[in-house]
Symmetry: C2
Subunit: 339 residues, 2 copies
Amino acid sequence: MKLASLKGGLTGARDGRLVVVSDDLAWCADAAHIAPTLQAALDDWGRAGPALASLAVDLQHEVIPMMRFHERDAASPLPRAYQWADGSAYVNHVELVRRARGAELPESFWSDPLMYQGGSDAFLAPRDPIPLADPAWGCDLEGEVAVIVDDVPQGASRDQALAAIRLVCLVNDVSLRNLIPAELAKGFGFFQSKPASTLSPVAVTPDTLGAAWQDGKLHWPLLITVNGRPFGKADAGVDMTFDFGTLVAHAAKTRSLGAGTVIGSGTVSNRDADGGPGKPIAEGGLGYSCIAEIRMIETIRDGQPATPFLQPGDRVRIEMKDGQGHSLFGAIEQEVVTA
Amino acid sequence: MKLASLKGGLTGARDGRLVVVSDDLAWCADAAHIAPTLQAALDDWGRAGPALASLAVDLQHEVIPMMRFHERDAASPLPRAYQWADGSAYVNHVELVRRARGAELPESFWSDPLMYQGGSDAFLAPRDPIPLADPAWGCDLEGEVAVIVDDVPQGASRDQALAAIRLVCLVNDVSLRNLIPAELAKGFGFFQSKPASTLSPVAVTPDTLGAAWQDGKLHWPLLITVNGRPFGKADAGVDMTFDFGTLVAHAAKTRSLGAGTVIGSGTVSNRDADGGPGKPIAEGGLGYSCIAEIRMIETIRDGQPATPFLQPGDRVRIEMKDGQGHSLFGAIEQEVVTA
């Protein structure tokens, strides 16, 4: 089943209105009689989950009132969440970004997941502009996959964590690259360097992803364009050192996780076929899921980066398609604007 | 006005039931007809705030149905929140804790606030036990003051930030000290080393705090006992390098803050009268608001720490009283238990 939150909604504009969306993203059906918001559904998934699944079947059979689904009308599936924690499962990406900062990659990073606590009081809607007050901050996209979990008890195993995954979606984890070095040097992690992130229009249950959801990883390329030009198509299932079960269990090691917690994969990143860092799409490679990576490659090759960070007017699109070319989660499509 | 959330509640057990509490914490009145939860009230403060204030006047005049208020029945005022960000406004504390870790204090820490993004998917109720899976993790209390804000626009000034403060409360920011060095060394800040925090039974509007709320600081001693023995009584209004207006504006520099965001002061800490680190209460000093500080003093003085971190069975109490000895926020009172 696929779920979305339309802008507006019964409980005020802040949490949207829960709808079930058809697999082809063309139609949706109001789910407010089951749960007014996605958070309310997640709070009571044992009851709401099966009821929503049944509604999704009715929608697929076209036996209930339905509306056209327009991605532009969608808020974030969770317009705000009680927790957003982002891993760095593609250690290839971590290695490149750290090299770009002149920092070494500790050996432990291959066995102990990196994860930071992000802000989740507001996720941008998938077509919302990215408000940037100062282009010198170095605005970057980060294309990621994320899962939304049910309650997870403290100390949960990887298998328990995997079983608690209710939904999968895409993320644009907006980063202000030029604020990161000074902020991380303070020792307390990201704060000002991580403004609001964006979730895809639709969140999808693992069973609906079929064989592409395997071993806690999602096995499709993440398609990214910048200003309409192909920028990345790295496979989210490849080079993912830590699967989502491992990431969720890491988050739950010393505390329980509340229903509706969003756990991100970190920037999707594939090595090149020869084991080196990936090549640009124009050179036959799989490209990148963030600008920092291509700037690193440019620095290694040419002594300095050539690709600028995002400026007002730049447009980013993040999407994932199945083998038939159908969009799975709808598209994140955002323009950077002066705040 | 004083607000609390009783356990249980109309919208399921997760968010509690909003009540207005009398200034002496003896009585309360149901506020569900105004807003079912504190978050709902904060989402619509322009309407709910004045209505709750009016209800508080009626409660004070005893002209409405009222119930006894028992702190043990209180959930956290926000049993879960969309954001919890914790500053380190008492740079004295930061200096001591870093010295204990063998880390230097950069000069910039006196002008640029430290702040970390914390987990807020579950705040422990004020009398909930602290679940600890492994005593070797080094469980510590951290006594703090926090504010709960309305919507704050990106780039808000200190004055705008101050004006957006709706409520003040106390926090026990539970920390797992022995997990911190390795986690901070990874560079992404705290995660596993910061399990669920605890808020005081009652949150109070700034106007109700009277003259004690001044210049964005709360000017009363924070009273802390460990196993019934006085442990700290540092004044929250003294040695606070960054006031709450500055902390909230820091949090809002690159992104807006959603209503209900909780911003903490960091561990309250006073220098000694002679300018050195504070003395234990037993030696005539003001004591400490966390165990890490006294361990640091012991290390400086005796070559090694003597006070152990919290073990299962240990009890912590955090409270603040006005000049007449009346509890302002009720008491956080927690026992550490084996998880």
